[in-house]
């Protein structure tokens, strides 16, 4: 788009094209795609057999455990994305309405927890949510409850809450950026024409931030669905997610071809989700 005149088809444009195709091919297509080609092979007696077949994919559809877990995992991650966006939007909105330097300082303070190691945060959250953890003891002490809550102990609710806490900053930033880009003149024009704050919000702000919201939800969804550590640490018996199944194919199960097939299926699901999200975005604007 930036190339002008003769430069358009000239040396630099061609160089850019060569780089744009060359880089992904060397560092992504060659390693990743060749590994994913494994999904058409299968294991026999501990060795990879290179006869092309769809046996891995067949197994995914015919074995009764995989599809329900994939479904459950997708629901969980959509819930996380929804929750993160619902909670993150008010924060981003408030931040974008702050004056001066405070706005960016607060934004950075939202992002700072991302640099605290993820593993440490999970341990901390787990000890807070536990039966004799900080949260329960606080609620007992203030008299809100009489006996420790097990609502958040080693189950999917714990996974949901933990993932949301971990990923909220990833939701806040894209929404903030899209709120920022709304021209002030637009908002002024709206109030000049007599619109109330809520009308301006619903008719102008919300639709214009939809791309940011979709981006935020997508990021959180992708990050959540790829996470296998959180379900393992706080999920207890019911915290078995699709990510853990994929991960286990590379360990004791030693079935790289099957793992590759599962990863492709997961990626396809995510791509479909993202495409749906873009459709929502287009419909909104």
């Amino acid at each position: 788009m930036i190339f002008v005149g003769s430069a358009r088809v000239g040396f630099w444009a061609r160089l850019l094209a060569a780089f744009s195709y060359g880089l992904p091919v060397v560092l992504i297509v060659a390693p990743l795609v060749s590994f994913l080609a494994y999904s058409f092979f299968h294991m026999e007696g501990g060795q990879i057999v290179t006869d092309v077949s769809l046996v891995n994919y067949k197994r995914f559809f015919t074995d009764t455990i995989f599809i329900p877990i994939l479904f459950k995992t997708c629901l969980l991650c959509m819930a996380v994305a929804l929750l993160a966006v619902l909670i993150g939007f008010p924060v981003a909105f408030l931040l974008s309405n702050l004056k001066g330097r405070r706005r960016y300082f607060m934004l950075l303070m939202v992002l700072v927890p991302l640099l605290m190691s993820y593993i440490i945060k999970i341990y901390a959250i787990r000890s807070i949510l536990g039966g004799s953890g900080f949260l329960n003891r606080f609620l007992l002490w203030t008299g809100v409850i009489d006996a420790p809550l097990t609502f958040f102990v080693f189950n999917l609710n714990a996974v949901l809450l933990t993932l949301t806490i971990l990923l909220i900053p990833f939701a806040i930033l894209p929404i903030f950026l899209s709120l920022e880009r709304i021209p002030r003149s637009l908002l002024e024009a709206s109030s000049d024409l007599g619109a109330s704050a809520s009308q301006t919000f619903l008719r102008i702000v919300l639709p214009l931030t939809l791309p940011g919201i979709v981006t935020a939800a997508t990021f959180v969804f992708v990050l959540a669905i790829g996470d296998f550590l959180t379900p393992q640490m706080v999920g207890g018996q019911s915290g078995f997610t699709f990510g853990r199944i994929v991960y286990s194919q590379f360990g004791a199960a030693f079935n790289w071809p099957f793992g590759a097939a599962l990863a492709i299926i997961l990626a396809l699901v995510v791509i479909v989700m993202i495409a749906l999200g873009s459709r929502l975005e287009d419909r909104g604007t």
Binding site: P31, F134, I271
Partner: protein, 265 residues
């Protein structure tokens, strides 16, 4: 926007809760760095800086932190540069090849990290590239490229062709258009994407574990501690990282932003 007081109050309430959710989990390791926790109770009467002393002497952890910073900044810079170039090419026209390129760029981010990491390890092995911090940087760049690329493409697409046309009509060359028109518009996007990329790289465990040689990053060291538990100097490290990043934020905002800003509302 002028907001009614109730709305403002509610927004502040939610924001305070979110900040609590984000920071309370950090309070535990930070408190532990100053006090010992025995039988699940904090021993308030026995503060000490012992864990900080241990941290200062732990060359292995400090080296891991340095490696993490090196990898993070390198990968962020590389991914920003590559992301910009690829985005420019993508927005320069429509073709099946471009769509395929975009799909390839997204792939490493969408794949479970163990697959991205393993495929790169096998690739490096087959091509004889020795595993080292450089391979980690390459792997991280590929991983966060999807993020920088996507945010830049979205931003570029929101720039109407009119600006570019106006610029070239006025006689600017390709390079001038890029430097004076496009780059400034991209600046906030680049910074935002850069910060997120750095954060992702800083915490990245699985891919790093697979493609590194004998160098460790902080996440790898912490991951290995899961079996026996975190040593006390780790709590000190968390406290220091928090203090330093907060300080950097204050300084950055002070220095880089003018006191009076154009603002909404």
């Amino acid at each position: 926007m002028r907001l009614p007081a109730i709305a403002l109050g509610l927004l502040w309430a939610v924001t305070v809760i979110v900040f609590l959710l984000l920071y309370v989990p950090l309070a535990i390791p930070i408190l532990s760095s100053f006090f010992t926790i025995a039988h699940g109770e904090v021993q308030w009467n026995d503060p000490s800086l012992g864990s900080y002393a241990v941290l200062a002497g732990n060359a292995g952890i400090l080296e891991a932190v340095t490696n993490t910073l090196i990898v993070g900044s390198s990968a962020t810079l590389l991914a920003s540069a590559c992301g910009t170039l690829l985005a420019l090419h993508y927005c320069g026209g429509k073709s099946l090849a471009r769509e395929a390129m975009q799909f390839a760029v997204y792939l490493p981010f969408l794949m479970p990290p163990i697959i991205t990491g393993l495929s790169l390890l096998i690739f490096f092995r087959e091509t004889g590239i020795a595993r080292s911090l450089l391979t980690v940087i390459a792997a991280h760049t590929v991983f966060v490229l999807a993020l920088t690329y996507r945010t830049i493409v979205v931003r570029l697409q929101s720039i109407g062709p009119e600006m570019i046309e106006a610029s070239t009509d006025l006689g600017a060359s390709t390079w001038q258009t890029f430097i004076h028109i496009i780059l400034p518009i991209l600046s906030s996007t680049l910074i935002g994407a850069g910060v997120l990329s750095f954060a992702l790289s800083f915490d990245e465990t699985m891919i790093t574990l697979l493609v590194t040689g004998t160098d460790s990053t902080l996440p790898i060291r912490l991951w290995a501690m899961m079996r026996l538990g975190f040593t006390p100097d780790i709590n000190a490290l968390v406290a220091i990282i928090l203090a330093l990043t907060t300080l950097i934020c204050i300084v950055a905002v002070r220095l880089l932003l003018p006191a009076e800003l154009e603002q909404d509302g």
